[in-house]
Symmetry: C2
C-alpha cells in the first residue's frame, strides 16, 4: 500500500485545531505541533488574568481534544525552522518532521512597537502563563498596598493602566474595576480597594474601533460607570517600572498591562520574502504561501486581503474558518483536484464590559447592556471546548454574578497552572 | 477606652484559621500572617498534583475566608524572626508586628533527612506551587517519552518512583497509576502510557503505618490491582537526576516524588531551646511554648505528647483542634482566667487509593473499597472551604468517575496557578 501523504500542522490554536479536525476523514497522516500541551480558549483568557476562572476552565490538552483521531500525532515542542526546500520542519532537540503539506497556524505574540524593553514592565495577554503572571501582579499590588506605610507609594500600587482599547483591553479594564470595587471591597484594613484608579488608554481616536459608534458610546458609558478612566487618542510614549508617560502626562502606576499591539510569530520569516509590517505572510486567495508549494498559512500569521482589500482581523473566527478551508484545500490536492479561494463569513463582534454588560454587533442586529451580555455568555459557553469546562464555567459565572466574588484569587510562584 | 489586646497568628493553615475563627467574638485585635494569600486544603493537594482538580478548587484567599471578621487583619508576608523578649514578630521588609499573645501555626516543610540536595530531583508536596510543579513534571515525562527515540530512555521517562508510604505517597501513587492506565490511554502514538512503571517505596515495615493491618492489606491489594509496585522495608540510599537507589537496587526513573519526611518550620528555633529531632516545639499541656509567656504553638510545628506519651501526628484534625484550643486559652487569659490543658479527639483516619477505592478507620468502624471511598468523598467535600469549591470539586469528580478523565492536564511554565 502506498505511503500516505504527510500533513504537518504548526500550532494548536483555533486555526490549527480546525484544520486537524477537518482532516479527520482524509487519507493522510497528520502531525500537529505546539509549544504548549493545551489549547487555550483565548476569548476568555482575560477571565483567568482577573481571577474569574481557573486555567483548567478555558484550556484543554490538545491530545484530549483530538483523541478521537487515531491517525493523528501530537508533538509538544517548538518549531525552530521551516525548510520549504527540503519540505521538513525542524523542532527543538533537532527533530526533523518531513511534510508533503504544511499548515502554519503559529499565531501572533505581543508587539511593543520596537520597545521590547517595555515587555518586562507591561506584560501582555496571549498565553495561560501570561494570564497567571498578570493575575499574580494584580493581586500582589493590593497585598503590597495593604502593607505599605507611605501614602504616595500606596496610591501608585493602587493605580492600574491598561494600554490598548481593543476588546481585550476593554475586558481587562472592566474586570479590574470589578475586582477593586466589588470582589475585594471590605476585605482590607489599611486600604480601600474601591479607591483604586484604573485607566484605559487607546492611541487611536476611539476604543473598540471594530464596533459602530453607537456601541462604542455605550461601552464608554459602561466603563465610566465602573469607574474606569477612558483616555482616547493618547499614545504611550514611555513605560518604566512604576510609571507610564501618556501623551505628555506622567502617571505613577505599579501595574501596567499591554493590550495594544500584536506581531505575527517569527516563524513566518521562513515563509518570506514579502512579509507585511506586522510580520504576517500575505497569502494567496487559496491561503497558500506565495512561492512555497504545499504550504498554507492561516490565522493571525496570515494576511488575507483578497476579500475587502484590507487584511482580515486577527480574531478566532477568521483563524477557525481559514484552518478549515486550508485543510479542505489540502484534501483537494491529495485527491488531485485544484484548490479553491477562501471567503470569510463574518459572524459579528462581541465585547464584554464587566458584570452583566456587553456589546454585540451582528451587522443586522446591534445589542448592548444585559441582553448583549446574555448573548456573549451564550456564544462563549457554546464554543468552549469540553463538557466539563462548560459546566464549570457556568457554575463560576453564576456564583460570581450572584456574589460579586471572584473565585480564583490565588497568588502562586512556581512553574505551574 | 483601653487598647485591645493584640493577638498575632503566624500561618493560615488549618491551625491558624481555626484560631482566627475562634477569636471572632473575643475582645481583641487579630493579625494573621501567611507567606501565601490563600489557605490550601492540604488533603486534596495530591489531586492538583495529579491533574484531577484545579488549584482554585482546593484553595481560597485567606482574606475571603475571614472577610466576616472586621477586627481581623490579614498580612501577606514571611515572618523572619520572633522576638519573644520584645513581644513582636519581624516580617520581611523589616515590619515589626507587636503582640500580647502569639499563636504560631507555621506548619512543616519536607525533610530529606540531611540530603537537601535531593529536593531538586525529588520534589515534595506541601504547597500549591509544589503541586503545580509536580503536575508539570508528570505530564512532561509522558510528552518527552512520546518524542524520545531511544527505548531505554523512554523506559526511564515512563518510570515513576514515589518515596514514602504514608497517605500522601499512597494517594500519589494511586492517582499516577490511574493517569497512566486510564486518562492517557490511547492518546499517544509512539508510547503506551499504560506501560508506565510506578513504584511506591516505604522504608518502614509497612505502608500506611497509622492504619490497622487489615486495612493496610486491602490498600496493598488495591495498589497492586492498579499496577503499582509496592516496596516495603526498603530505604532510599541515593537520589540523583534520572535514578534512585533503593536498598541495593538502582532504578532508572525520570520522575521521583518525595512523600517521606517532614520537618517543622524553621521559625520554631526562635521558640527553643529544647526542640525535638523534627524541629518541633515540645508544648506544655495548654499548648504554650515553655519559657515564652503568651506564646502558643499548634499543628505540625508543635510536639504534644501529654495525651499518649507519643507526639500527636501531623494531620489536619490535630492542627484544627489545637488552633481552636489555643484561641480559647488566649480568650481565657484575656478574661483573666487560667488556661486549660488540650485533649485531642481522634475522628479517625482515611486514605484513598485511586478511583472509587479508599480505606477508613474510625476505631469502632473499619471500611475499605467503594464504601470507604464514599465516606472519604463525603468527609472531604464536607470540610472543603467555599461553596463554589464544593460544587466544582463534586462536578470534577463526577465527571472523572464517569469518564476516567482528568480535567486539568495543563503544562504551564511561568509564575502562576
Amino acid at each position: 500500500m502506498a505511503r500516505l501523504p504527510q500533513v504537518v500542522i504548526i500550532g494548536g490554536g483555533f486555526g490549527g485545531l480546525a484544520a486537524a479536525r477537518q482532516l479527520k476523514r482524509v487519507a493522510c497522516e497528520v502531525t500537529i505541533i505546539d509549544r504548549h500541551n493545551h489549547h487555550v480558549f483565548q476569548p476568555l483568557l482575560y477571565q483567568v488574568a482577573t481571577a474569574g476562572l481557573s486555567p483548567g476552565d478555558i484550556a484543554s490538552p490538545i491530545r484530549w481534544i483530538l483523541r478521537k483521531q487515531p491517525q493523528l500525532r501530537v508533538l509538544l515542542g517548538t518549531v525552530e525552522r521551516i525548510d520549504t526546500a527540503a519540505r521538513q520542519v525542524w523542532m527543538d532537540g533537532h527533530d526533523a518532521v518531513p511534510y508533503d503539506f504544511l499548515i502554519v497556524a503559529a499565531g501572533a505574540t505581543h508587539s511593543y512597537f520596537g520597545h521590547d524593553e517595555w515587555s518586562a514592565v507591561a506584560p501582555g495577554l496571549k498565553t495561560l502563563d501570561d494570564a497567571l503572571a498578570i493575575r499574580r501582579r494584580l493581586l500582589l499590588a493590593f497585598e503590597e498596598a495593604e502593607r505599605e506605610h507611605d501614602p504616595a507609594r500606596q496610591r501608585t500600587l493602587l493605580t492600574f493602566v491598561v494600554i490598548g482599547g481593543g476588546p481585550t483591553g476593554v475586558e481587562l479594564a472592566g474586570a479590574l474595576a470589578e475586582i477593586a470595587r466589588q470582589a475585594l471591597r471590605s476585605e482590607f484594613d489599611a486600604i480601600d480597594p474601591a479607591s483604586a484608579r484604573i485607566l484605559l488608554v487607546e492611541a487611536g481616536p476611539s476604543i473598540l474601533p471594530a464596533f459602530p459608534e453607537g456601541l462604542r458610546a455605550s461601552a464608554r458609558r459602561a466603563l465610566r460607570r465602573l469607574g474606569v478612566e477612558v483616555r482616547e487618542g493618547l499614545a504611550v510614549s514611555q513605560v518604566e517600572d512604576g510609571a507610564v508617560a501618556i501623551g505628555d502626562e506622567r502617571i505613577e502606576a505599579h501595574t501596567v498591562l499591554w493590550a495594544a499591539g500584536v506581531s505575527a510569530a517569527p516563524i513566518g520569516r521562513d515563509l518570506g520574502p514579502g512579509l507585511d509590517r506586522a510580520g504576517r505572510v500575505p497569502v494567496a486567495a487559496d491561503l497558500t504561501a506565495p512561492g512555497h508549494a504545499g504550504v498554507f498559512v492561516v490565522g493571525d500569521l496570515a494576511s488575507f486581503s483578497h476579500q475587502t482589500g484590507q487584511p482580515l482581523p486577527g480574531v478566532a473566527q477568521v483563524a477557525k474558518q481559514q484552518g478549515t478551508h486550508a485543510a479542505r484545500n489540502v484534501a483537494r490536492l491529495i485527491r488531485g483536484e485544484s484548490t479553491r479561494p477562501f471567503r470569510y463569513f463574518d459572524p459579528g463582534n462581541m465585547a464584554t464590559i464587566g458584570r452583566a454588560n456587553a456589546i454585540a454587533d451582528f451587522g443586522f442586529l446591534r445589542v448592548s447592556g444585559f441582553m448583549g451580555w446574555l448573548m456573549w455568555l451564550f456564544v462563549h459557553i457554546l464554543f468552549l471546548i469540553g463538557f466539563r469546562s462548560r459546566l464549570s464555567v457556568l457554575l463560576q459565572w453564576a456564583a460570581a454574578y450572584l456574589t460579586y466574588q471572584r473565585s480564583v484569587r490565588l497568588i502562586t510562584r512556581n512553574p505551574g497552572s
